[in-house]
Amino acid sequence: MQNIISIKTICLLFFLVSILSFANKEKHSEELNVKTEIKEYINHHLLDSYDFSLTSYTTDSGDHKYIGFPLPVILWDNGLKVFSSSKLHHGEKVAEVDGNYYKSYHGKIYKTDASGTINYDENHHATNAKPLDFSITKNVFTIFIIGLLMFFMFTRMAKSYKSSALPKGIGRGLEPIILYIRDDIAIPNIGIKKYKRYMPYLLTVFFFIWIINLLGLTPLGINVTNNIAVTLALALVTYFLTTFTANKNYWGHIFWMPGVPWPMRIILAPIELLGTLIKPFSLMIRLYANITAGHIVLMSIIGLMFIFKNWLGSSLSFGLAFALSLLELLVAALQAYIFTMLSALYFGSAVEEPHHDH
């Protein structure tokens, strides 16, 4: 009862605050600027970037200054083109490499002329040619760093087992998680006989998603798992592992469903086949959408602090942002768990032994 009342009070306060801020018409245009700036900032945050910038500020003369370091840009455009992202100047200047001109626009590199003209179609999409882009972007760099971190963390843990039966240091915290994944995710879903084959993937994918989600909550401005390319790559690995390790029973259930009359089998086959694709597709979308939504909501609420600009609204936004951050901490682990759990479930269905009860 107490909780409901307090929630109601908070809602009421929010309502009052929004009325108050709308009533203040003089500030309206300024607020609009702030709002668009926040929106752009959020959009920018959600995109990948060619350099690792932690933050940026605008000098008095109107120049954008970035704090961070450049990363290599690797393009395939009639030959390999490698240059530092500092040449792109965050999309503000045209980079000239071997007589070709490139410009980054909305997180993508386009081939332009010397003056950097971007042509648009009627939907305001750039129509310039896009070279094949294998750049070490901020996200690729982060993935690489996470990979290194995980490699050192877990090889250290593995070494600590050589001297004693109990893990030392960081392994003490990690071992229960590894055991949880083995005993409560892998074994119940895949079965005691075949779970070992999938353990490396399940453990890696869990820790990878978890750590990278947590890193997205730090003020470093990293967000890897809200790129559809990343979640697609992860889901594809699950899909291919399921498909290539599946046994006869699994394919039998897809193409010739046992226990139903034969016309139904013909109808069911394409549905089941589509199902095998929908499963990894749902993995991809779920992870992507959850993390993206979390980032957008969290950043919007942080942005609210700058829109309200009064002690009540801003502090309430701060409290809300804090509460949401805690929730996002849970979501970070939960999404990693769900991805691992569902992958294990799909693997389990792929290696399931036939039951003789139908």
């Binding site: 882009d133 690489f144 843990m157 593995a158």
Partner: protein
């Protein structure tokens, strides 16, 4: 959806796939396998230790039961030995008593026989002695008596009379 496709980056996809698969393979070899093996080894070790502890406990119990049995057997044996010894003692005492009695009886009979023979001998000697004495006395009496004639006749007469009475 269009935005998603537009945002999709082949490069990021490629790097994620390569780095992630590389990470899985590297971790499988250098981390997951040793970790899982070590954990499994430890778990089986614990299980075995528990089992052997249970076994040792059972053995201990068996041993204790055995000990108890042995103790009981030993006690019973001691009891039996004591009983035997007691019986033996009683028997020996009994035997000794019987033998002694027999010996005593024998000695008594021997003594009695000896006494008897001695008595007889003594009696015989006494008789002889008495007979000698009597003869001597009789000789002396007769000598004195027969010193006068009358008395001699009288004696003959009494003696005769006695004879006839017989």
């Amino acid at each position: 959806m269009e935005k998603l496709i537009n945002e999709f980056s082949i490069g990021l996809f490629f790097w994620q796939l390569v780095l992630f698969i590389g990470l899985v393979l590297l971790l499988r070899k250098f981390a997951w396998k040793p970790i899982l093996d070590a954990v499994e080894k430890r778990e089986s070790g614990i299980e075995e230790a528990l089992k052997s502890a249970e076994k040792a406990k059972l053995e201990m119990q068996n041993l204790q039961a055995d000990n108890q049995k042995l103790l009981q057997e030993a006690r019973a044996e001691r009891e039996a030995m004591l009983k035997d010894a007691r019986d033996m003692k009683n028997k020996m005492i009994e035997d000794a008593k019987g033998e002694a009695q027999e010996q005593a009886n024998k000695m008594i009979t021997q003594a009695q026989a000896a006494i008897e023979s001695e008595k007889k001998a003594a009696m015989a000697e006494l008789k002889n002695h008495v007979a000698g004495l009597s003869l001597e006395i009789a000789e002396k009496v007769v000598r004195t008596e027969l010193s006068n004639k009358d008395k001699q006749l009288k004696l003959v007469e009494t003696m005769l009379g006695e004879k006839s009475l017989n």
